[in-house]
Every structure is written in structure tokens, then in C-alpha cells.
Amino acid sequence: MTRALTYGALLFLSAMFIIPFYWTFITAVKSIGELYQFPPVFWPDEVMWDNFVTAWFKQPFDVYLKNSVIVVILSTIGQLFSCSLVAFGFARFKFRGRDAIFVLLLSTMMIPWDVKMIPLYMEFNMLGWINTLKPLIVPAYFADAFFVFLLRQYIMTVPIEIDEAARMDGANSWQIYWRIHLPLMMPALVLVGTFHFMNAWNDYLGPLIYLNDQSKYTLTLGLSMFKGLHETDITSIAAITVVLCIPPLILFFFAQRYIMDGSIGSSVKG
């Protein structure tokens, strides 16, 4: 009885989570005639794959895609490199002020982005970085606090004897980081890379504030421009929305076992 109730609830709730996706996809591949039919069409007579091509050429989406890819790749590299370095520093050395600095690092996670938004804009403006991709890339080379925390927790689980043995063999700190810990923390790096990829790919407010020229836009910004330009062009909006969702969804399916094994929750508890 309770079992049936559980399944019923799960199926009902899954429907609530799935239907919006399905509805968007169906909207993207409907013909104009079916779009405004009533009652709504739940499966189109003919799937109009061409709608994607049409939508893609409504705006310079290849330029937006190029910008998004540049931002995502360069910032992900920066995040992986800087966070692993910092995490290794906190996990494997005893130094003056370490614990205080680490608490400081954790507390920066509580600062809302909105508070930094205005002065950061002024700072990047003074550096002449407004309307370039730099504000979206460069900060990633200075280690995000949450990712440092995740990686540090991971390094702490590696027995210290491994480091000591390497040191006996004459390895210095850099070699221990580069040759031993970087390969060992690969699963955690996949997790950090996935999270950052999604953040960077999905980011809207950053590009909105820092970019002015259409030639600098990222995909999210381009999609949001549809609202003003073609208020009624629902098919194209839905098509680009589908395109925008695909990379994070694919990445999520591949990295799923790393995300779902509870690293998010256990790090919170840690």
C-alpha cells in the first residue's frame, strides 16, 4: 500500500519535472500551424528538424557559440589548475595562519554576488576589460572557494605516507602535487570541472553586465535577446533553448556518478 503510494507520488512528481522539458522540445519542432492549435498538440504530425537551422541563423549564433566555448574552456582550465594548487596547499602543509585563512576562505562563500557586482564592474571598467571576455575568464584563475573546499576534502583522504615516501625519494612539493596528487584527485577534478562548466556555460548576469557588443555575446545572452527582437517567435526561442540545454545535460549524464555519489552533501557535512 505505502509502496504503491510512493510510486504514485514519484511518478506524478517526475511528470512535473519532465513535462516542461518535453513541452519545450515539442514546441521547437512543431510547424507554425500546430503551434497555436487548441487543444494543444502533444505530438506533431511531422517533426520539423529544420526549425533548429532556421533559429540558428536568426542571430549570429555561431559567434555566440564561439564566445561561450572560449569562456568555458579557458575558465575551466583556470579553475582546475588554481583550485587544485590551493587545495593542496591547505591540505598538506602546516603553516602560520592556515586555519584562520581557511575559515576566511569558507566565509567568502556566504558573500552574495550582488554585493560584489557593482565594485567589480567598476574595477573591470578601470582595467579596460568591459566589453571583453576577460571578466568572465580571468577570475577563474584565482580559485573558487567552494571548489577549493571540495578538493581539499578529497586530498585529506589520501594517506600522508604516500607524500612522505615520495619526499624520501627526493621529490619536492611541486612534484608531489603534480605527479602524485593531481592524478589521484581526478574524480574530484571531474566534479569541479563539471560544476564550473555548467556555471560558466549557463551564466547570464556576468555576460549581461560586462558585454555590450553583439560580437561579444555568449549563447545565454543571445537567447535572452530573442525576447526583445522576436517576441512572438516561439519556435526559434524554444529551439535555441533546447540547444542551450544540451551540453550541460550531456555532461551531467557522463559525470552523474561523481555528482550523485554524495560529494555535494558530504562536503557540506564535512
Binding site: W23, T24, F93, I118
Partner: protein, 314 residues
Amino acid sequence: MSTLVVQDEASEERHRFIEKLTPYLFISPWILGFLFFTLGPLIFSFIMSFYDWPVVGERTFVGLQNYEVMLTEDPLFWDSLWITVKFGLFFVPFNVILGLLLAVLLNQKVFGTGVFRTIFYLPSVISGVALVTIWAWIYSHEYGILNFLLGLAGIEGPNWLGDPNWSLLAIVIASLWGLGGTMLILLTGLQSIPKELYEAAKMSGVPAWARLIYITIPMLSPMLLFTVITSIISAFQQLTIALLLTGGGPLESTYFFAMYIYDNAFKYFEMGFAAANSWVMFLIILVLSMLVLKSSSAWVYYEGEMKNSEAADD
């Protein structure tokens, strides 16, 4: 001979210096980032808040005027703050309770847990912009699927985004679609509760609802606290959805505090005034988080603490 010894000492000194410096070199990326992208901006924005500071042109020191104007002369400040609080009052409890419900359902030994878990997490993976375009079409007054489904149930759906009475609720629902993160954190918490507790309770004939209230919720309380705090913070930072779904309207019924800051900064270019706004937001979030943390001793149950006090009793 003696010079050799001196050289040795010098190189040893250098070696020790490098050893001392190494850890700081490793953490230097974060230190530099903290100075340039966190601490610096925070101080800068604090100073700005006492100035009339346009993006280009002359800036003038105005003392507390920005704060005064905001608190006493600008009705939008209070209105947007109230809308944000209203949103939070709906969003935070629903986010935590629904997240808990999903987590509890998934924690049953049912077939296909993995698939369900993935489905619930999917919306958390996509961009806020995509989420908005998806919901804008669902909420559409004439062609929206939501009102069609409500119609099937015999309910006449409202004009979700066009009616000031419903627009805020529409944003709450769209935001709740992304509660997968909360669910995941609570699910991890559930899985770490010792099974023996439930077995013992079952053996003594404790019903399921009582097990939820007397075992699950107390054991889960540290994570519940965490999700409450993060939900409050995200409620106050609500910007993307309102900006794109309703643009703050209709009749400013969804004009969030974050949007008020955004407009003052990037629409009216009153950077000093907007900096003062953002500091108020920072303080509110800080105070709310502190209150939740302080009150937590009354309802958060930490196993470690319990053990300690038991040991003290012995």
C-alpha cells in the same frame, strides 16, 4: 674551509626560507583572488556608498545621504524589499519541504531510484535563461500548457505573468523547479542516518509518520539548517528569473530587491546609491543567517554534542 661552511649555512638558510614560503605559494592564487576580487571590491563598494558616484564624470562625497534617501525617500526600496520577503516566505519553506519530500521518497527502497533522482535534478543543470523561456511558454495565457491542464481539471487558470496577484507565485513555482540541489543534499543526509534506529523503532511498533518526526527530522537537522540558510540567500539574490520572466512587472509586483540594485547601478548608473543598496542586502542576509544559526541550537540535533553531554553526565 671556513668560507665553505658559511656558504653551506647560507644555502641552508635559503633552503629553509623556501620551505617556509612554499605553502604560501601554493595558496597564493586564492589569496590574490581574495584581495582583488573580494576584499578589494567590498571595501571599494563600502567607500562608494558614501559618494554620488556616476560611472563617468565627477564624484562627490555625500556622507550618509545615499542611505538616508533609500530609507526615507525612495518608496521603491521598501516595496522591493517587501516583495523579496514575500517571495522568501513562499520559496524557502517550499524549497526545503518539497526537497525533503523528494529525498524521503527516493530514500525508500524503490525500483529505479537512480532514474527518478536524475529526473528531479535535471532542471538544476540548465541555464536560468533556458528555465525562463521554458516557463514563459508554459505560463502563456492563451497557449500555455499549464492553463490547458488546469482547464481539463475544470479550473480556469489565471493570466499568470500578466496578473499582479499571480505573477509572484508564478516566479516561486518556476524557481522551485530547480530544487534538485536541495534534494540531493538532504538525500545524502538521509543515507547517513543509521539504519538500526529505524529497525529498532519498527520493532517497537512506531508508525511511519512518527519515525519521520522523531528520527528522520532530528537526525537531518544540520543539513536542514544548511538548506534553510542557502535558500534564504538564493531568495534574496533572485534576479535572473524576475529580470527575464516578468521584468519586474506587472505593476512592479515582481520587482525584487536585487532588481532594484541592478536598475540603480546599470540602468540609472547611480553606482554610489546602488553600492549602498547592496550593503543593505548584505547586512540583511548576514543578520538572517545569524538568526537562523542562533535559533538552531533549539532545533538542530548534533549527534556529537549529545554524546559529549552524555559522557559528562557519567
